[in-house]
């Protein structure tokens, strides 16, 4: 599989062609609009990204689709984005409401994981409760390999309703039958009445979008990966600003 660098000359022209039709531009948050940080609570867009994103959102319809809970995501995004979708698609989808069953499922998983964390104390492992899904971060663990092995082991004991999605130094536990980012993006595109979709993300959970077999979608991964189903890639998160600038330029908007 050959993924292509988005900013090569020919591919920039392809990106430009999206501005000739009604395109919805969708972004992941952590690792895409905001750099990955040791403490997820402190993640935020740089002042430049925020300013560019605001202008892009005022020019074209935008969406942010994140693994964070909607409550956590909202204050991190400047006003203007047409859609904010949290919890990997479980919250914020137009026409969908939160489902109590999913919340109960999540509580049952916590009942397994909390005692396990007490029995295996590692201050670098953190359980994040997002209401409808969980994230077990081990970015700050001093023994990352061991932490990963131990988390993998406990996650194997979870029930069949739990879908485990490994990420960058994190494991996401989401309802197996719940919506995912791919489904979320499809619904947002349909709701917005856009004719085409653009999506950029950096993580394993974004593969649910990248693997959509839909020719009305352009997919970009932050960071090259031969295993990814995304068609194009950016080398690093800092290049997202250039992407936002290009979208503005193609629509004839000055920075």
């Amino acid at each position: 599989m050959t993924v292509e660098y988005l900013f090569s000359r020919g591919n920039i022209q392809i990106l430009e062609s999206l501005c000739f039709t009604e395109t919805l531009y969708a972004f992941d948050f952590d690792g895409t609009l905001a750099p990955i940080v040791a403490k997820p609570d402190t993640a935020k867009m740089s002042a430049e990204t925020e300013s560019l994103f605001k202008k892009v959102s005022a020019t074209v319809p935008t969406a942010v689709i994140s693994g964070r809970s909607l409550k956590d995501l909202q204050p991190r995004i400047p006003p203007g984005a047409k859609y904010l979708v949290g919890n990997h698609g479980l919250e914020g989808l137009p026409g969908a409401s939160a489902i109590r069953e999913l919340n109960e499922m999540c509580n049952a998983w916590k009942a397994i994981l909390n005692p396990w964390l007490k029995e295996n104390p590692d201050p670098g492992i953190m359980l994040e409760d997002k209401g409808f899904s969980l994230a077990i971060h081990y970015r700050n663990s001093r023994a990352k390999k061991l932490a990963r092995e131990n988390i993998t082991q406990i996650l194997q004991s979870m029930d069949e309703h739990a879908k485990i999605i490994p990420g960058k130094l994190v494991f996401n536990v989401v309802p197996a039958r719940g919506p995912h980012k791919g489904l979320a993006l499809s619904r947002v595109i349909v709701h917005s009445k856009a004719r085409f979709g653009f999506y950029i993300g950096d993580d394993h959970t974004d593969e649910d979008v990248f693997s959509i077999n839909e020719n009305r979608l352009m997919t970009v991964r932050v960071g090259r990966s031969r295993k990814s189903q995304a068609r194009y890639y950016l080398r690093r998160q800092a290049e997202v600003n250039e992407l936002l600038r290009l979208i503005l330029r193609f629509h004839g908007v000055e920075e």
């Binding site: 599989m1 392809i14 062609s17 000739f20 004719r195 085409f196 020719n215 352009m218």
Partner: protein, 132 residues
């Protein structure tokens, strides 16, 4: 409508399309086929040639020459699909979009003076379907 009237309508439609095509090529350097391909491509960036043919209800081989001509004129770009090197992805260039808007304006101006209304075209097509 009698059979002879049907054929006459089809013949008239064919002649009118020919006239529009000649006038369009003379005035804009773009044929009706090229114009309709560009129209379709604008709303389907990165579509594959095969999917485009499906969308238009024609065989992919019929598109080959038109795609080459549009590419030579710099109105579209043809790129290989990063996920499948056998597939070619088609997109309109800025120049292609500018030219398309110019042609759209001309066609709109002609529409008011042309006797061929969209309802009469639909009528002929409906009659044509009964024959085929």
């Amino acid at each position: 409508m009698s059979e002879s009237t049907h054929f006459l309508s089809i013949l008239q439609l064919g002649i009118r399309i020919q006239h529009v095509n000649q006038k369009l090529e003379r005035d804009t350097g773009m044929s009706l086929t090229q114009w309709s391909l560009l129209k379709c491509l604008v709303d389907h960036p990165t579509i594959s040639a095969l999917d485009l043919a499906d969308l238009l209800g024609i065989q992919a081989s019929s598109l080959t020459q038109s795609i080459k001509r549009l590419q030579r004129k710099g109105l579209i770009i043809v790129a290989k699909d990063p996920l499948d090197a056998r597939r070619k992805l088609l997109s309109v260039t800025r120049e292609g979009n500018v030219r398309l808007l110019e042609v759209d304006r001309k066609l709109k101006a002609w529409k008011s003076s042309a006797k061929l209304s969209s309802s009469s075209v639909q009528e002929v097509f409906r009659d044509l379907k009964q024959f085929l």
